[in-house]
């Protein structure tokens, strides 16, 4: 805004219980629980909240919690977080709850997430679903650069092992997962084995975003949003996810979607890749992490597989990735919560609250959502201080 120097920060975060099934839980009940827990983390109450966002149920939650009149966000995933930040910085609200939860979505016992099943006439009769969509992207990378199933499995093994040591993860305590374990799991959509894929689960999470003048009074250490960006190439699951899909301005093709977004985020932050301590990358499928490492500039085009082979994404590597197990081992609880959970985890890392998988002295985190198979990638850069 003209003359506005108001800044917003993330002052509270919370995850509810996460599980394959949370018996008796409802999406609304989980959302309320997540909201109250995040406010408690922030040292705030519902009386302080004058804005809400998260998913399509946010307006109903606004009513149920008697938050009105209040600002209402309409964006999805990472963009809901940045939209809330922008609203606070523009002066439209002071304290915004970003909350989402999912329970009961898998009542038909399907193995895939219901919101990802395509209905388009050129897609649905050919049996497409997320694993197949993302596999078409991964295969093209393997054709072009020689990326191997072992390199994909290394990503899955690394992230799943992170989940095994994360308290509260759906697969906590399951022990380390090896490359051999991933390759031995049954094939879902070649090149993706079962353990290359995210799970289905239930749970909720919330974040509290407040103006920094309010943040001075909050209980937790504020985490600052240093930059953000969004790249979209069209509606998800309606067009062939071709690596080379291009727009009229030129620029990155679909296979490198997120490159423009992350460039914008770094430019806003005045930072570069070397400044990032931890990568909370969205991990719907193992290959998507390799793709993001390249698109985000942590390695060159085609170098994602060798980068992973060299151990750079492990907890002690150059760029630790998805340190709570992500959608593979922490939780994959609905369309919106899973995206917010990367930001929640980034906040935990920067506050030193990441438990056994804490990255020492983490000061800058890059969090992402989306994926080339879904034709979008969104990012947010978090920091312990404003540069």
């Amino acid at each position: 805004m003209p003359g506005s120097s108001r800044r917003a920060a993330i002052v509270g975060v919370a995850n509810t219980a996460q599980a394959r099934r949370l018996e008796g839980a409802t999406s609304r009940g989980l959302a309320v629980g997540a909201a109250l827990a995040a406010l408690d983390d922030a040292g705030l109450t519902l009386d302080d909240v004058d804005g809400i966002s998260g998913d399509a149920t946010a307006a109903a939650l606004l009513y149920d919690l008697r938050l009105g009149p209040a600002w209402l966000g309409r964006q999805f995933g990472i963009q809901a977080v940045t939209e809330a930040v922008h609203a606070v910085e523009a002066g439209e609200a002071d304290v915004v709850l970003v909350v989402a939860a999912e329970a009961g979505a898998y009542t038909d016992r399907s193995a895939t997430a219901p919101w990802t099943r395509p209905e388009n006439e050129f897609v649905v009769p050919f049996g497409l679903f997320t694993a197949a969509e993302f596999a078409l992207v991964a295969r093209r990378h393997m054709i072009t650069y020689g990326t191997t199933p072992e390199q994909l499995a290394r990503v899955a093994a690394t992230i799943r092992t992170n989940g095994s040591t994360t308290p509260g993860a759906v697969y906590a305590g399951r022990g380390p997962v090896t490359v051999e374990d991933v390759l031995a799991s049954r094939m879902v959509a070649d090149p993706f084995h079962l353990l290359d894929c995210s799970m289905t689960s239930e749970g909720g999470c919330a974040l509290v975003i407040a103006a920094t003048d309010r943040a001075a009074d909050t209980a937790s250490t504020p985490v600052h949003v240093l930059g953000s960006g969004s790249d979209h190439a069209g509606p998800a699951y309606r067009h062939p996810p071709a690596w080379d899909l291009a727009g009229r301005r030129g620029g990155p093709v679909l296979g490198r979607i997120g490159e423009r977004a992350v460039g914008r985020a770094f430019a806003q932050a005045g930072l570069d890749r070397a400044d990032v301590d931890v990568l909370e990358l969205y991990d719907p499928f193992s290959f998507e992490v390799i793709r993001q490492l390249e698109a985000f500039g942590f390695c060159g085009p085609g170098e994602g597989g060798p980068y992973v082979d060299d151990g750079h994404i492990g907890l002690t590597g150059r760029t630790p990735v998805t340190t709570d197990g992500g959608t593979m081992a922490f939780s994959h609880a609905g369309a919106a919560p899973q995206m917010f959970q990367r930001v929640v985890r980034g906040v935990q890392q920067l506050r030193g609250d990441a438990g056994p998988n804490q990255v020492p002295d983490a000061r800058v985190a890059l969090c992402s959502g989306g994926g080339a198979g879904a034709l979008f990638t969104t990012v947010v850069l978090l920091g312990t201080e404003v540069p």
Partner: protein
């Protein structure tokens, strides 16, 4: 492994839109149709109402020779819904010779024999109570290649 087969039961499908009805009518009559812009000659598929290049609404339907090459593929062993009973099946993106890409399934080929750039040709398969689908199968060898 045995060769991939077309699905034989009823499949989920969506009703054609105004722009796409000629495409599906073409499949039913054994023609792989695509749009070419009369203003700028750009080729597009799936169908659109206005050219994605120059925005002209003057689009002509043309008939593809039905040949192309495999751009990318996957072999699905665990389908999203039980409707896809012929397992495994192979969703693929095919580079069609006239200059557009089509999402399809590969049939009449063993999964381990699918390769990038493999020549393929369209094969229309009528589905139960649904549209005729443009599947692709390995292209017959060209006449020169079959000479002794």
């Amino acid at each position: 492994m045995t060769r991939l087969q077309p699905q034989s039961g009823p499949l989920p499908h969506a009703e054609p839109t105004g722009a796409s009805a000629p495409f599906w009518a073409g499949c039913a009559s054994g023609e792989l149709r695509y749009q070419r812009c009369r203003a700028c000659a750009a080729v597009t598929s799936p169908p659109v109402e206005t050219c994605r290049e120059c925005l002209s609404a003057d689009l002509a339907w043309e008939v593809s020779a039905g040949t192309g090459t495999v751009y990318s593929w996957t072999v699905v062993h665990r389908p999203a819904t039980a409707a896809f009973a012929a397992v495994p099946y192979a969703p693929a993106i095919v580079d069609v010779a006239e200059g557009f890409q089509l999402l399809t399934n590969l049939v009449d080929v063993a999964p381990e024999d699918i390769t990038a750039g493999m020549p393929v040709a369209v094969r229309f398969v009528a589905t139960a109570d649904g549209p005729t689908l443009p599947y692709f199968a390995p292209a017959p060898a060209s006449p020169e290649e079959t000479l002794p």
